[in-house]
Subunit: 367 residues, 4 copies
Amino acid sequence: MSHNSFGQLFRVTTWGESHGQGVGCVIDGCPPRLPLSEKDLQPWLDRRRPGQSIFTTQRRELDQVSISSGVFQGVTTGTPISLQIRNIDHRSHDYSTIRDAYRPGHADLVYDLKYGVRDYRGGGRSSARETAARVAAGGVARRVLGDGIRIRGALVQIGNVRIDRTRWDWASVDNNPLFCPDPAAAIEFQALLAFSRKSGSSVGAVIEITAEGVPPGLGAPVYGKLDADLAAALMSINAVKGVEIGEGFATAALAGEDNADEMRIDDGNISFNSNHSGGVLGGISSGEPVTVRFAVKPTSSILVSRHSVDRDGREIQVSTPGRHDPCVGIRAIPVGEAMIACVLADHLLRHRAQNPNAPTIARLPLE
Amino acid sequence: MSHNSFGQLFRVTTWGESHGQGVGCVIDGCPPRLPLSEKDLQPWLDRRRPGQSIFTTQRRELDQVSISSGVFQGVTTGTPISLQIRNIDHRSHDYSTIRDAYRPGHADLVYDLKYGVRDYRGGGRSSARETAARVAAGGVARRVLGDGIRIRGALVQIGNVRIDRTRWDWASVDNNPLFCPDPAAAIEFQALLAFSRKSGSSVGAVIEITAEGVPPGLGAPVYGKLDADLAAALMSINAVKGVEIGEGFATAALAGEDNADEMRIDDGNISFNSNHSGGVLGGISSGEPVTVRFAVKPTSSILVSRHSVDRDGREIQVSTPGRHDPCVGIRAIPVGEAMIACVLADHLLRHRAQNPNAPTIARLPLE
Amino acid sequence: MSHNSFGQLFRVTTWGESHGQGVGCVIDGCPPRLPLSEKDLQPWLDRRRPGQSIFTTQRRELDQVSISSGVFQGVTTGTPISLQIRNIDHRSHDYSTIRDAYRPGHADLVYDLKYGVRDYRGGGRSSARETAARVAAGGVARRVLGDGIRIRGALVQIGNVRIDRTRWDWASVDNNPLFCPDPAAAIEFQALLAFSRKSGSSVGAVIEITAEGVPPGLGAPVYGKLDADLAAALMSINAVKGVEIGEGFATAALAGEDNADEMRIDDGNISFNSNHSGGVLGGISSGEPVTVRFAVKPTSSILVSRHSVDRDGREIQVSTPGRHDPCVGIRAIPVGEAMIACVLADHLLRHRAQNPNAPTIARLPLE
Amino acid sequence: MSHNSFGQLFRVTTWGESHGQGVGCVIDGCPPRLPLSEKDLQPWLDRRRPGQSIFTTQRRELDQVSISSGVFQGVTTGTPISLQIRNIDHRSHDYSTIRDAYRPGHADLVYDLKYGVRDYRGGGRSSARETAARVAAGGVARRVLGDGIRIRGALVQIGNVRIDRTRWDWASVDNNPLFCPDPAAAIEFQALLAFSRKSGSSVGAVIEITAEGVPPGLGAPVYGKLDADLAAALMSINAVKGVEIGEGFATAALAGEDNADEMRIDDGNISFNSNHSGGVLGGISSGEPVTVRFAVKPTSSILVSRHSVDRDGREIQVSTPGRHDPCVGIRAIPVGEAMIACVLADHLLRHRAQNPNAPTIARLPLE
C-alpha cells in the first residue's frame, strides 16, 4: 500500500510540493530497452505548462524534466526511473494571509484535521503542481504502449457551454489554447472565460479522452477492472468530481437494446456496430476506442470574497488574488491523458503476465 | 497486486462464479474483538437477494452466509474471516444456446479474448452473483465503522424519470421495493419498469448513497484519495458506467463562488454552509456527509433480438429469455452501500496507522 | 497489503484455524487454461498429512482438498481458485487446561498481547494446520511452473545428526518416512526421534530444498529479489528460525576466489563450474539449481514440564501431553517445497510482465 | 507490487545507480509532525560511508543527504519524503574491460539475461551504493520508532574467526573500525583482513543486530510475520546469503525443553527466563530484544584471476583491481540496522491500524 503510488506493475510514486525544491516521481517496473530521453518527455510537460495563453495562470514554471536514473545509453534498463522537475518560481511570498486561513473549496482545513500540520505555501502537496510529475510519468507510459495506441483529450464543456459533437475536429484541438474540438464552441469558451476572469470568478469543465488502438483483453475482473482503475486514476486528479465511461450517466436513460453494442463479422474480424460501452465490457477492453469523461470543478482560488474560518476558530472573509487558472480544467487535459496512459501501460503488463499464450486474435479495426 | 482483492488494510478477496459451488470472500485485517455472527450479515444479504418483488429476477437464491473462520466465541479474532454463500439454484440448464454466443453488452467476448476460456454458465465470474460476497463483506465493514456512521442508498433515476429531491424521504426508501426516496416517483418508476418488462427490454438507473458521521481526515493524498477509492469501488460493480461525488458533473456549470463550500463557526465548531464537495476535499473527508452517485446501464440480458456473432465467427441473432432483472440498478443499492462501507473501513484503519495522535477535534455536526 | 496473502501476481490468501470449519486459500492471478483437478493437488497434501509414520502426530486428518471456483471443464479460467480442506478431527476436547495457559515456545501469549483474544483450540491460526492450505496452493503453483522445473526437499539434519552429503540419494528420500537422502543417516534419525519421543521431548531439524530447471532471469532487484522472497516464504512457515541460500552461513568463512562461481562455455552455452551461489546472483536466478535450507525449531508441545504463566498472571507448570509431532521439521518438507513453488510461479509471471522480449538464451544445462 | 519498494505502511522506494546522478528514495506513509532534518540522517550515512578505515574501499563518496520534500518548518508533514544523495566520485573511468565481461560472483550475467541491457559502470543498480538510500530511510524509520527502541549491530565473524560472546562489549563496537564487540577478536579480524587484502582476496562475515525496546504485538500472521519481513529485508541486501533469528540454525540441535523460553512473573509483569526465540513467537514480537544474524559473502571484486566468459561467448580471465572493500560485511552493519528499523517502523504502523485498543500491557523489562 502506498498513498502516493499509482499502478501495480507500471508503478509511479510521486513526491513534492508546490514551493519546495521540486516535484518528481519514481517509475518502477518499466520494461527494459525502450528508447528514452528527456526529449521524449518534455513535449508533454510543455503542453501542461502554465502561462501559455491568457486563459491559464501566468506563473512562470519552466517544468524542465530530468532523468536521474534507470536510463543508460539512451534506453531504459528495467531499473527504477527517477524523474525530477525543479521548482523555479518560488519567489519569497508573504504567506501571512493564507497561513492561518482555511480557503473555501481548498484542502487547507482537511490537511490540518488529518495531519495537524500543513505546508501552506502554494497549497503544498495539494497543489496542481504535483500533476507535472504525472505528466512526466505519462510520457514514459506512452513509450511502453508504443505508437499503436493513441491517447487524445479535448475540452467538451466549460461552464454551461457544451460543444456540438457533430463539429468534432481533432485538428481544432491543437489549434486553440483551450483544447476544444469544436472551433465554434472554442470562441464561446473564450468569451465565457474572459467574462469569468473579469468577474474574479472561475468556471468548471468537462474533459473527454479517447484511447485508440487499445488491444482487447486489458483489465482484470473484478477489482482490477480497467474502468475501475481508470476511474480511480482520473478521480485522483485535483478538482475532479465525476468520471464516466462510454455513455456514462446517459446510459441510465437508455433501453437495453439501445445500449448494448451489437456485433458483426467484418472482413473476418469481430466488429462492433456502436461503442456505447466506451471500449470496456465486464472490466476488460474490447478493442474499441476507450472513451472516458471527467468533470473538473471551478477553481477555488477566486477574487470574490467568501465566508470562512481560520486556525484560531475565528470567522473571516477570504479573497484570493493572484495568478490562478480561471479554469483548471484546461490544464487537466494533458494530466488526464497521462493518467490514462499510465493505467493502460500497467494493464498491458498485467495482462501479459497472466496470459502469455492468449489466443492471438486479429486486432479489431479502429472506427 | 490482486485482481480480485479490494482495499489495503481492510482487505476483501472474493471468489466464485454464478453456477459453481458458491461465492465467498476472505476478509483480512479486520480488527479483533468486534462482535460478529451470521445474524449481523444476513440482513444485508437479504436486501440484495433476488425475487423479493416482481421488479427483480425471480431466481431463487437463499444467499445464506456462513462464517468459516476468524470468529471465536462471537468475536473477531484479528485473523482472516472467510465468508461463504453456497449456490443452490444451479438447475441443470441447457447452455447450448449461449455457450458459443457472444451476447451484446455482456463480457462473453472479452473473457474469451483475454483468457481463451470462459465459464458460460450464468455469466460465470462476470455474473452479478459475485456481488453477494461484497455485500457480506460490507456487513463486516459496518461493524468496523460502528454505529456512528450511517450508510444509506436510494434510487434517484430510472430510465429518464428522476426523483424530485424536495420530496426526499428516507422512510420511503424502506417502504417501496425500488428503494425510491420519493413516493410519487416510486409510482412512476414502477410503471416504467412494468412497461419495460412487457417490452422484453430493460432500463438503466442512477443510485445515490450517503454516508453520515464520517470523521474528518479519512483519505490519503494523492493516489489514495478517499474519492479515488470510492470511484474505483463503485466502478468495479457490474454494469456501472459513471461515478460522481457531491455536485459531480453538475460542478462544471458552477461558478467558483457557488461551488466552494463556505465555512462558519457553529457552537465553537467549524461548520460548512453547504456540501457541494460531497464531504471530500483534496481527497480527504471533511466531516460532512459523503455523497456519491453512480449510473447503472440497462440489463443486457433482454428478450429483444439483437445482432451478434459466435465463437465460430458466424453472425447470429441473440435473444435472452429467462428470469433476468429488468433493472439491475435496483439490486445495486445494497452492493453500492457495501462498497462504500468497505472503502470507509479501509481508510479508517489507514488513517489510524499514520495519525495516532491526530489532534482531536470536535465532530462536525451532521446536517 | 495483506497479512494473510503471499505473492504478488500468483497470489495466495489463506484462511482457517486448527479447530474451525476448515482451512483454505484463494489463489488469484493463476494463468488460464491449465489443466487442474483435485487429483493434481491431493498427492501433495497426502505427503504432508499426519499419521503416516510413528514419527509424526497421530491425529487423523484426511486433508481432502476441494476446488470451489476458478476451474471449468478441467481447466483454470483465470479467475480466483478457491481451495478448501475441511477439518474433520475436531473432537470435543476439554481445553480448560490450555485455555488460560501460555505455553512456552508457543504463540499463545503474543496473540493475547496483540489481539486481546485468541482461539485456543489447537493453536487456532498459529497451528501448523494452516500449512495444508499452502501445500494445496503449491500444487497449483507447480502447474504454472510446468514439468520443466522440479522442486524436491530433503531432511539433512535432525538434532545434532547431519547427513553425509556424499551419500546423497534422492531415491532414499521417497523410501523412508523422514525424507532423508542418506540411508545411513535415516537410521540414526529414527533412533534419535525414538529416544526423543520416549523422553517426552522433541528435536529440531534442517531441511534442504532444490529447484532444478529454473530459467535464468527470475527475481527483481532490489526488494523483490528472488532470494529475499524465498527467505520470507520459508521464514513464514511455523517454527522456522533460519534460512540460507547456496553456501549460506558457510560463505562467511570462504575466500572470495573460493566463493564466486567461475563460468565457462559449454557446448556454446554459458555454464558455471560450481554453484556456491545457490542459483541466485544479485537477486536474479542464474539458471543453476536454486538451493535453500531452513532450520526448524523443536516442537514446543512437549511432555516435559516447564515453567510458565497464565492469563491471570500466575506462575504455573505446563506439560503438553497428546498427539504432537516430535519433530515438526519432517512435515515441513512438503510445506517448504510448496512455498518455493509459489515464489517461483510468482516470479515467473513477474518476469514475463516486464520482459516479454527478453533475449532467448539456451537453457543452462542442469548439473 | 513494486520491485524497488520495501514495506507496506512505512514504504520506501529507492532508485539510482552507482555512477548515475545519484541515489535516493521516497518514503511514503511517514507519520506527520516528527522533527526531521538532514542532521538527523547524516550520522547514519557517515557510519556507512567508505574510506573511513583501511578496511573499506578508498572511494571518496561524501554521501551528503538532502531532503527534497515532505518536511516543512522542521517537521514531517505526512506527505512523501524524498531523500537524495548525489554521486560525486564518478571519474571518467575506462570501462572497456568490464563492459563485456561477466565477473564471477557478480550480477553482470543475470542482468543481461533478464533485461538484455545493463549499466556496467560500477555495477549499476546492483552496486552497494544503492544501500546509501536504505541507510537514509532507516534514519527516518528511527524517528518513527522513537528513542525507546534501540537498534545496534556488530560484526561477530570474519572468515573463520568468531568472537567470544562472553567478551561482548557494546562500547567496543564504537571503538574499532570493524564494529567488533569483542576487543580481542577485533585484533584477529584486522590481521585476517590485512592478510586477505595483501593476497588480493576477500572474506565473508556474519553480522548480528539487536533491537531492544520493541513492544510486544508487532508482526502479523501468517505471511506478514515480523521475522518473515526481517528475513526478506536482510536477504535483500547485496551479498547476503543467510538470515537467522534467535538461536537460528543452532535451534535444530536443541531439545524442545532447552529451546522454548520459560516465563515467570517479575514485579507483576510477564517475563522470559531466556530469549532463544530472538524476541519473536509465532511471527509476533514478544517484548524481548529482537535478535537477528545475517551472513555476507566475500567480495566478488578481487585481484585474484578467475575463469569467466564475456558477452560474445568467449572464455576469459577476470581480475578486478581497484578500490574494493575486502569485506563488504563491515559496511553492511549500518545497512542491516537501517533495514531492521524500516521493518519495525512499518510493523508499528500496521499494528496500530488493526489494534487501536489493544490491551495496554506493562512494557516487558529489557534484559
